[in-house]
């Protein structure tokens, strides 16, 4: 599947930073000024970021996104059947971080069984089960992005349910 290769390209870019510039074009998200407010709060304040419109999604074709900011790559998926945390009219739209919570390698999507897989040490996560680690070395399940679909069909990310790899605050703070 093509996306495996695509993510591989992404990994090299991620290694030197600036992942989103190339592969995550869909996520030219507005970075909100509120991000800086995170310090001192019990839970960080998340930006609301438009990721795509439902019309942009095809079943089982991953779309590169980034959330809560350009340095945190993710994937937006329409799975074709209702799943845990799924939104939209079919309850089937989900988004996850694609940084492996083990050592931060970039996950690749396997359309065959709708999983995210890590080339680093072979951890894998189930996109149809809330990002549950099917097998692996990570000590958490995959961070899932909280989504909302508005009247126009725009999909917004508004929160994250686990700590994203590589940051000690999901919303980076100065």
């Amino acid at each position: 599947m093509k996306c495996n290769r695509m993510v591989d390209v992404g990994r090299r870019q991620f290694l030197r930073g600036g992942f989103v510039g190339a592969a995550g074009a869909a996520a030219s998200a507005v970075l909100p000024a509120e991000a800086a407010r995170a310090r001192g709060l019990a839970r960080v304040a998340y930006p609301s970021t438009r990721l795509a419109n439902i019309r942009d999604l095809k079943v089982n074709e991953p779309m590169d996104i980034a959330y809560p900011d350009a340095d945190s790559p993710g994937v937006l998926l329409k799975l074709g059947r209702p799943v845990e945390g799924g939104v939209g009219p079919d309850g089937d739209i989900v988004a996850f971080s694609v940084l492996c919570p083990h050592k931060g390698w970039l996950l690749s999507y396997s359309a065959g069984d709708r999983t995210l897989n890590c080339p680093g040490h072979h951890s894998r996560f189930d996109c149809e089960a809330g990002g549950q680690q099917i097998w692996g070395h990570a000590t958490q399940n995959l961070p899932q992005f909280l989504l909302r679909v508005d009247d126009k069909g725009d999909i917004h990310a508004e929160g994250v349910d686990e700590l994203i790899y590589g940051r000690l605050s999901n919303v980076l703070e100065a």
Partner: protein, 821 residues
């Protein structure tokens, strides 16, 4: 619902945080971690000068970053009586794991008991004594007095043979040099207890008798040998799952250096799947033999290698016994030992015959022999490192099968050389230092049957839970509970009376067949339900603990927090028992006997270390080990130079083999021919049941399931013990993923959750071993080998659905474990 912690920020480790060396205490590999603690009211900042790593933490960290830690690596714990922040994260500078964390070790912080965050509140904080129908918290003196009075009465009115002891023999979790010495000095020094058993098997014996009898210690290599070798030969082991960072940080690097891998396992394991990804399918050979036929395969490999002349003649001449039979087969030796020729003649097996027995293609056996031993085109010797574990150790005909593996390694000159070695992969770390156990005898007493037969009067249990880790477990539990209940009833009937009268009542119940049970553990275990006294122990890092890993790497894992509640290190609990025994025996008028319990006036675990291990290894002290950090030193320690301990990278580099104690330093070959099912009852059981019930481990909780029964991340993944089945078998039996099923045979019943696994062979089941919620040992027959090694791996049963999937099991992922890249 996939479990999410809903933690989206963590306190930053300040630049001045305290730093401690930590060796993960769960599995044999012993990955290095660093623990950081700092006061509760502060944290570091994102600017480089404000945090421990000197990193700009306001920016995203990239792949393999040192400066990131997961929520599971964080907790708030007590240190010197105050709450402090704690982070325990993998050490990038440790040569064992190079910064890799495992799904177990990277949860060490989260699996610490904390009054603040509420983790691991199952830990016991006070001694408990059975009183008024339940376990009542009490003082150490009160609890130890009762233990000592009953134990002293029993051994003076009867003998020390009436005291049965189940105790860890390992390092890391429980155990360690301090604690094996504390318990060892008590039971094998002050006393000579012979009815003892080890945490995972029903007798006090070695798991690798034959290797040792042949002169070869079972941990003889260095992990780097996997990177220096031509071929990695794995038999009955699954390191991707169970020695994860040994696999990832050493074996994978070997594969990437061009090594090939041969895996012998009836099941396609993740080791096979993952090695194929890293090395390419063409460089991985999986011999999916019939269960229990390893010996036939190994003897055929040995025969073929010998017949082809792919042996190391010079090594055989110089380093091995050359004169026929050295040790005859007898009750203590399930095969004779002697020269290469003696062994070859005895074990001779053709490739074709083995192919028939094992159901693998003859060509694959030949290919394996070539990968293991055929010299390179330029004539140079092929290097091969051999690794084995429970598939062999808990398999059919342990003595001969381990011997057959060592035969191949010896014949090809692969022990004591770079890129060689023939080693078990191990479970826990090691950390054994005890007075001689020669009085135990060989074969050792089959202690679990001894208890079932109504023998023994007092049972001291140290971090063992037979309920989960014995065979014939159904019967064991019935009898143990019945005997312990007799004593509980007697105590209840004596409620309100004096200590003397209560002890008299206990002795009365013992004479009727009752059993007085003392359980030393960190949690209230299942066998602990039968205990009359429960003594709370603490874990590594709540005390200083020394252990060595699978390449004999000795480290001091430092104390960074207080023992939970009033719990104590095992060595100090043993010392407490000894001191109370001395007092009580003296009161009873046994002054001479009492004197044997002197020498336990330790205040700290370091005192126990100095009294035991240090006496035999005078170079080694806590201070010197601390200085050696997470890389420690490989045992044996041979000196101290320039402020550093000097160790031994691999054993037997001089070609002298010593583990058997022979003065000539010659290794012996094992003449163990294939003889079908060795343990009683196995062939019959196989013939009368549909499914082979293999017991397996899972990386997520192997070696720490006792803690993970209270860990949400783990319980969410496996709400019940998994029973992996082929999907076609499930369809035939009307079983859906997540349904609860029973495994039934004449030995007992156990239960778990059906999990489809298309890579399994039909009519086989892979059930997790040692689960608190469904003991696979329930259905294992009592059959052991001549030296009382259990054959847990070979059990057959039928499967019955008992309930539809629960909401919890329905919600989990049932997808294949193999990565799809």
């Amino acid at each position: 619902m996939a479990y999410k912690r809903q933690i989206d920020r963590l306190p930053i480790i300040p630049a001045d945080a305290q730093e401690f060396n930590v060796t993960c205490h769960y599995c044999i590999v012993g990955c290095g971690y660093k623990a950081y603690t700092w006061p509760i009211n502060r944290q570091g900042g994102t600017a480089p000068d404000e945090n421990k790593f000197g990193e700009d933490l306001s920016r995203q960290q990239y792949q393999d970053a040192e400066a990131w830690y997961a929520p599971s690596m964080y907790n708030i714990v007590r240190q010197n009586g105050r709450d402090v922040h704690l982070v325990v994260k993998p050490d990038v500078n440790c040569v064992v794991n190079s910064g890799l964390g495992s799904v177990r070790g990277a949860r060490m912080a989260e699996n610490r008991p904390s009054r603040v965050t509420g983790t691991q509140l199952q830990r016991i904080g006070d001694p408990l004594v059975w009183r008024n129908g339940t376990w009542q918290p009490t003082s150490w003196d009160d609890a130890l007095d009762l233990v000592a009075r009953v134990t002293a009465r029993v051994i003076t009115e009867g003998s020390e043979d009436d005291l049965v002891v189940s105790m860890f023999d390992h390092g890391g979790s429980a155990g360690g040099y301090e604690n094996t010495w504390g318990t060892g000095k008590l039971y094998f020094g002050a006393m000579k207890v012979k009815n003892a058993r080890i945490h995972n098997r029903p007798a006090y014996n070695s798991e690798v008798h034959s290797s040792r009898d042949m002169g070869v210690d079972e941990l003889n290599y260095a992990y780097e040998d996997y990177q220096l070798t031509d071929t990695i030969f794995i038999v009955g082991a699954n390191p991707m799952e169970t020695q994860t960072n040994l696999f990832l940080n050493h074996m994978v690097k070997g594969l990437q250096n061009g090594a090939r891998m041969v895996v012998v396992d009836p099941r396609r394991t993740l080791t096979v799947a993952s090695a194929e990804q890293f090395a390419g399918k063409e460089n991985v050979l999986h011999l999916a033999i019939n269960e229990g036929t390893d010996l036939a395969l190994l003897n055929a490999l040995f025969t073929h290698i010998a017949d082809q002349g792919w042996v190391d003649r010079e090594f055989i001449e110089k380093s091995t016994f050359r004169d026929g039979v050295a040790v005859r087969q007898d009750a203590a030796h399930p095969a004779s030992l002697g020269s290469f020729e003696h062994a070859l003649e005895a074990v001779r097996m053709s490739v074709e015959e083995a192919a028939g027995i094992c159901s693998v293609p003859a060509a694959d056996i030949v290919k394996a022999a070539e990968w293991i031993a055929k010299p390179h085109d330029d004539g140079s010797r092929r290097k091969c490192v051999t690794a084995y574990e429970k598939g062999v150790i808990w398999g059919n005909d342990n003595y001969r099968t381990v011997g057959a593996l060592v035969n191949i390694a010896l014949a090809t000159g692969n022990i004591g050389r770079e890129g060689g070695g023939c080693c078990r992969l191990g479970g826990h770390q090691e950390g054994y230092f005890r007075p001689s156990d020669a009085h135990v005898g060989r074969p050792a007493e089959y202690v679990d049957q001894f208890l079932i037969r109504g023998l023994g009067a007092v049972h001291h249990i140290w971090a063992c839970d037979h309920y989960k880790t014995t065979l014939n477990a159904s019967e064991f539990k019935r009898v143990h509970k019945r005997r312990a209940d007799m004593v509980k009833d007697a105590i209840d009937a004596a409620a309100g009376r004096s200590r003397e009268e209560v002890v008299d009542a206990i002795m009365g119940a013992i004479r009727m067949g009752g059993l007085f049970v003392v359980d030393v553990d960190i949690i209230h275990s299942q066998i602990g339900q039968n205990a009359h006294v429960i003594l709370p122990a603490c874990e590594a890092n709540e005390m200083n603990l020394t252990s060595m890993n699978g390449e004999r790497r000795l480290r001091l894992s430092e104390r960074y927090m207080d023992p939970w509640g009033n719990s104590r290190p095992d060595c100090l609990i043993a010392a407490g028992i000894a001191r109370h025994m001395e007092r009580v025996l003296r009161e009873m008028g046994h002054g001479e006997y009492a004197d044997r319990f002197k020498g336990f006036d330790w205040q700290t675990e370091e005192d126990a270390f100095m009294d035991g291990y240090h006496q035999a290894n005078p170079e080694v002290t806590y201070e010197r080990l601390r200085a050696m950090g997470n890389n420690g030193v490989q045992e044996p320690v041979v000196g101290f130079e320039n402020g550093r301990l000097v160790g031994t990278t691999r054993l037997y580099t001089d070609g002298r083999f010593t583990r058997h104690g022979r003065e000539d330093g010659k290794a012996l070959f094992c003449a163990g021919a294939w003889r079908g099912w060795q343990a009683p009852g196995k062939a019959r059981e196989k013939a009368s049941h549909r499914f082979w019930i293999n017991n397996v481990r899972a990386n997520i909780f192997w070696q720490n399931q006792f803690l993970d029964q209270k860990n949400e991340f783990v319980q969410d993944r496996y709400p019940h013990p998994f029973v992996e089945m082929h999907p076609d078998d499930m369809v035939e039996l009307g079983i859906n993923p997540g349904d609860l099923v029973e495994i039934v045979n004449e030995n007992g019943v156990t239960q778990g959750m059906a999990y489809p696994m298309p890579t399994l062979k039909r009519n086989t089941v892979a059930m997790v071993f040692g689960s608190p919620a469904g003991s696979q040992g329930n259905v294992v027959n009592p059959g052991v080998n001549e030296l009382v090694l259990p054959d847990y791996k070979h059990t057959w049963g039928n499967i019955r659905k008992i309930a539809d999937a629960t909401p919890e099991t329905r919600a989990i992922s049932f997808k294949s474990h193999e990565v799809a890249l």
